[in-house]
Structure formats: structure tokens, C-alpha cells
Amino acid sequence: MNPALNSALSINSGMAPVATPWFFYALAGMAVLSGVFVITRRNAVHAALALIITLLSVAGLYLMLYAPFVAGVQIIVYAGGIMVLFLFVIMLVNIERSSKERAFNRMWPVGLAAAGALMVLFASAIVKGSHINDMFRDRLMPLPESTNTQQIASLLYGEAGRMGQYTFAFEIASLLLLVAILGAVIMTKKKI
């Protein structure tokens, strides 16, 4: 944050987030609504588009949580990468038949019931937890936004001369990605 801020032009105080509760409700509503679309749309492309909206909304929520780097990763990896892959695959396996078939399996009532039970469980946990003192703290700790990326980087890679806390895990994650790439290529290639 530049200290040479001209006070005449700032309507809010310097550190105050642009985000207002309205933003939160809009984003959360959009995320949940699109989530509903994801699981109810018959057409997979529609579902994918709905999922993209969910992902972008969640990215917005990350920004509200002062996690811009995670938000950026969310956009670039999820929305830009994974979802394009999904759309690609949907187009490759697109068959007319699927739009005329049942969208849900035979055990959908059981599944719905189980998911409902899960929801009840979450609700009760949240309700119970919010009574316990300090379990879900109301006041949010300040996180510096302007150096978020740098701090994540120093956690991941360490600072000069010192290995980061998560460097090894990060390398393993890259290995996982490599394995996934190789597996996907080998499985899908027609003639190896």
C-alpha cells in the first residue's frame, strides 16, 4: 500500500476492503445456485458452464478472504485448465443418447437421503460449534494482501538459504502431476 495516498480521493479508509457483505451474499448465492445447476442439468455442457460460474464465484470468495494468489490459481488452473479439459472430453464423448436417458441412477433416493443426513450433520456441527467459545472466531485476523504471493512463496520455497516448510511436499505434488499426465496420455493414446 502506497503511503502517499491522497486522502481526498479515498471514500473508505485505506485498508478497508472493497468487499461488502452484499458482495459475499451475491457470490455465495451464485456459487450455490450454480452448484445446484451442476448436479441437476441433464446436458453435461450446461453443467460444466454452471460449474465454471461456481468456480469463479469461489475465486471471488477467496479474494474476499485476502487470498489473491489462491484465487488466481483457482482461475488459471480450474477455470482455464481443468474446465477446458472437461469441455473437451464432453465433446469427444458427446452422444445423442445421453440426453434422452435417465439422468439419475436407480439408487438416487438413498443417495439423496445420505446427502441430506450429511447436511444435517454439518448443520448441527456448525450450530454446536458456534456455541463453543472461540471455535469459529468472529473476528478475522488481518492478512496482508499486498505481500500474499511473496509470503506463500517463502512458505513453499523458503527464503534465501533456507528450505521452505512445504518445499518437499510441493515437489511431491509436482511428481503427482507428472504421474497423472503420463497416466492420462497412456490411457488415451490410440497407438503408443
Binding site: M1, N2, A4, L5, N6, A8, L9, S10, I11, N12, S13, G14, A16, V18, N43, V45, H46, L49, I52, P68, F69, A71, G72, V73, I75, I76, A79, G80, G81, M83, V84, L87, F88, I90, M91, N94, E145, S146, T147, N148, T149, Q150, E159, A160
Partner: protein
């Protein structure tokens, strides 16, 4: 109120950073309008330049030298019947161009036209930019699928594969530039677009010349990848008219089609802006460190006015050279008015430059600085725009497999090597 405006003009940070929604909104509107105008200009320039490359005249009828042609086109496209094929997926067909447009325009929130001339200075600026511009591919994929036709589908698959592939090399090239920002005392780099330009300012060198072949190589890789990324010739596989009639927008017409065009040109300007920001010193004028005396500042600040003056002179000559026939009278008058407008702008700019030449803190000086920043930025972007046209006039089209081969087997290894070498040199050299 004037005080409010003036005080803003004197601000040294972006509105987003200052938390000023009002100014941010104004900025968004200015940029939206500016980009739209730029696209229109680009449209006209491309048609004229391409025509002159090809020993034609290009549009000449609508307005003097076809100056009003883009507006006529836009009007025509807007008034055309909006056709959605019967078998198409209506909703997706409708939404696809919007996705592309949204992605192309959202990018502009972080493009720094000057140290404070941006909507916001995001901490993750370049990451955000890459991410959002990669969303553009969704619009293309979805449009190809929604058309429910073979050619658009093939075009969509081609272009999405192409964009995803070239994004890799592009990203690596960008990373090597970002890596260069960390070559300071604290060893901390930045992803912020403004920060990147400031890093170049501090290090006293545009990143294209940094570690000489390395920065240049990364830049070249980016410059190639950005042509592929925007589906322009010679990588315009997705809309190869001789193969796929028109690629993913074969079934589109009217306004929707024009939205695709708008998105494409906006994306071209956006990626060029990235290239300018990352490697060509963004808003900085040439030799800011070498020729840093106030006199030089003044000389360079005359450039915008002179440019406009030159354009006005060209327009004037054009008006003078019109055939002396009554048919051309209106055109001649129109061109003369246009020239007068340009001349007026030139005068205004010169006045500002002269008024703001000495006092560092005055509003006029701020104004002059802001104009300088935007001018140099736009000039650099304009060079890229011209290159896009030049490519299109010169080269045949690559074949799809050749394109992918270049992307994966040439560009990716080179960019990886450049990245590695940049890292090594960055550790060893300073």
C-alpha cells in the same frame, strides 16, 4: 468537486489501490470505451493496411478514405437478423460470445497504462491476466459445440487445443520475465503489472534486453505464442476460411459475430499490452535513465502532440489531393474536419506539454505525465498491432499438426531452457 477531480489527477496510486470505487468505475468506463474505439480503429487500419499490402485501396467509399467504414459495419451488424440455428443449443449459443468478450475485457482491469493509470494494481496481476485471458478459450469451445455443426466443432477443438498448448510456452516465458523482477536487493519479485514495470525502471533496462539473449528469447517466444493465443495468422487454424469456412463462428452472424470479432481484437490488444508491460518497459519512454534531464523529459513529452500533428498533416494532404470534382466535396470537407480535429488535439497536447514542463507538482505536470505514459504505452502496443497485420499479409497458414509440433517440441523446450538459464544467470551474475 473540481478539487476532487484535480486531487485525483495528482494521485500516485491506482483507484483500486486507493479503494475508490467511484474512480475505479470511471476508469472501467474509460477503458471500455477506449478499447472499443481502439478495436474500431484497428478494424479500419487492418483493412487499409492489408489492402495496401495487397496493392488494393481498401474501403474508400464510406467517409473519406473509408474512415466511417467501421461504423457502417457496426451498424450493419447490429441491425442484422439474429439467426440461431434450429439444432443449436440456444442458451449456450447465446452465451458463448459473451464469455469471450468478458474474458477479453476483464483483462484490462490490471493493464497499467501508467504508474497510476490502471483500474487496480493487483498483487497477482500477471497471474490474473493469464488466467482470465485463458478463459477466452471457453467461449470458443462452447460456441463451436453449441453450433451443432461439424466445421465449428473442428474449429473449436483446434483452437482450444492450440490455445491450451501455447499457454504453456507463454506462461513459461512470462515466468522468466517475472523471475527477472526479483533481481533486487531484497530478492523479492512481484507479479504485479505495475511492479514489473517499476522493476524494469529500477534495474534500468527493459527486460527484453536483460541477460541479452535470454530476455529477448523469452520475448520472442511470447510474441509467437501470443499470435497463436489470439488465433491470428499464421496460426489462424480455428478460423481457417479455406478449410473450415469460418471455424468456430461459422454459424454466427450479426451482432453475435461482431462480439466475437470485438473479443478477438480486444484480446490482441490485451496480449500485446502484456508483452509491452513485461518486456518493453510498459509506460516508460525510451531511455528514461540515460536521458533523464528535464530537458529530455520535455522533448519526449512533445511526441504525442507531434504525432497527432503528423496525422493531421497527412489527413490534410489527403484532403488537398482529393479530385476536384463536386462528387468529392463532402468527402473533402469531412477529411478536412477530421484533420482539424486531429490538429486541435495536437495543439492541446502541445499546450499541455509546454504548460506542464517545469513544475513537478502542478496539475498540468501531472496531466502531461499521464499523457506521456499512456502515449508511450499505446505506441508500443500499436507496433504489435501493426505486426499482427503484417503477419497476416505475409504468411501462409500453418497446418494444425505443424502448429502443435512447434508449440510442444520447439517453443516449450526453448522456453523451459530460457527459464532455467534465466534462473541460473540470475543467481550467478549479480
Amino acid at each position: 468537486m473540481p478539487n476532487f477531480i484535480m486531487s485525483y489527477l495528482g494521485s500516485t496510486v491506482t483507484p483500486g489501490e486507493a479503494g475508490s470505487q467511484f474512480w475505479a468505475l470511471i476508469y472501467v468506463l474509460i477503458i471500455f470505451a477506449g478499447v472499443s474505439v481502439a478495436v474500431i480503429c484497428m478494424n479500419w487500419i487492418e483493412r487499409k493496411a492489408l489492402a495496401h499490402f495487397q496493392i488494393r485501396l481498401g474501403p474508400m467509399r464510406v467517409g473519406p478514405h473509408g474512415l466511417l467504414q467501421p461504423f457502417a459495419d457496426a451498424l450493419k451488424l447490429m441491425l442484422k437478423e439474429d439467426i440461431i440455428p434450429a439444432e443449436a443449443d440456444q442458451f449456450v449459443f447465446w452465451v458463448a460470445p459473451l464469455i469471450g468478450l468478458l474474458a477479453a475485457f476483464t483483462v484490462y482491469t490490471v493493464i497499467p497504462f501508467g504508474p497510476s493509470q490502471a483500474v487496480s494494481d493487483m498483487n497477482i496481476g500477471i497471474l490474473f491476466m493469464l488466467g482470465v485471458s485463458s478463459l477466452g478459450v471457453l467461449g470458443i469451445v462452447v460456441s463451436g459445440w453449441a453450433s451443432n455443426s461439424h466445421y465449428p466443432l473442428i474449429g473449436a477443438l483446434r483452437s482450444s487445443a492450440q490455445m491450451v498448448s501455447y499457454e504453456v510456452a507463454m506462461g513459461l516465458a512470462v515466468v522468466s520475465a517475472v523471475l527477472m523482477t526479483s533481481l533486487n536487493a531484497s530478492g523479492t519479485g512481484t507479479l504485479s503489472m505495475i511492479g514489473i514495470v517499476q522493476a524494469q525502471q529500477q534495474q534500468g533496462v527493459w527486460f527484453i534486453f536483460k541477460f541479452f539473449p535470454l530476455g529477448f528469447l523469452a520475448f520472442v517466444i511470447f510474441a509467437i505464442a501470443m499470435v497463436a493465443e489470439t488465433n491470428r495468422a499464421p496460426f489462424d487454424m480455428a478460423e481457417a476460411e479455406s478449410e473450415l469456412t469460418a471455424g468456430y463462428h461459422t454459424e454466427y452472424s450479426g451482432l453475435r459475430w461482431s462480439l466475437f470479432m470485438l473479443a478477438e481484437y480486444a484480446a490482441m490488444i490485451a496480449v500485446s499490452s502484456i508483452a509491452v508491460t513485461l518486456w518493453l518497459g510498459g509506460w516508460m519512454r525510451p531511455f528514461p535513465n540515460l536521458l533523464h534531464a528535464p530537458a529530455w523529459d520535455f522533448i519526449f513529452s512533445l511526441f504525442p502532440g507531434l504525432t497527432f500533428g503528423g496525422l493531421a498533416a497527412i489527413a490534410m494532404i489527403g484532403a488537398a489531393r482529393m479530385p476536384a470534382h463536386s462528387f468529392f466535396r463532402i468527402q473533402r470537407i469531412g477529411l478536412a474536419v477530421f484533420a482539424a480535429l486531429l490538429a486541435f488535439s495536437a495543439l492541446l497536447l502541445l499546450v499541455i506539454a509546454i504548460a506542464g514542463r517545469s513544475a513537478d507538482t502542478s496539475v498540468a505536470a501531472r496531466f502531461r505525465e499521464g499523457i506521456d505514459y499512456v502515449y508511450w504505452f499505446v505506441l508500443k502496443v500499436a507496433v504489435f498491432m501493426y505486426l499482427f497485420i503484417w503477419y497476416r499479409a505475409t504468411w501462409p497458414r500453418y497446418r494444425f499438426d505443424q502448429l502443435m509440433r512447434i508449440g510442444w517440441k520447439v517453443m516449450l523446450p526453448i522456453s523451459l531452457g530460457v527459464l532455467l538459464l534465466t534462473a541460473i544467470v540470475g543467481v550467478i551474475l549479480p
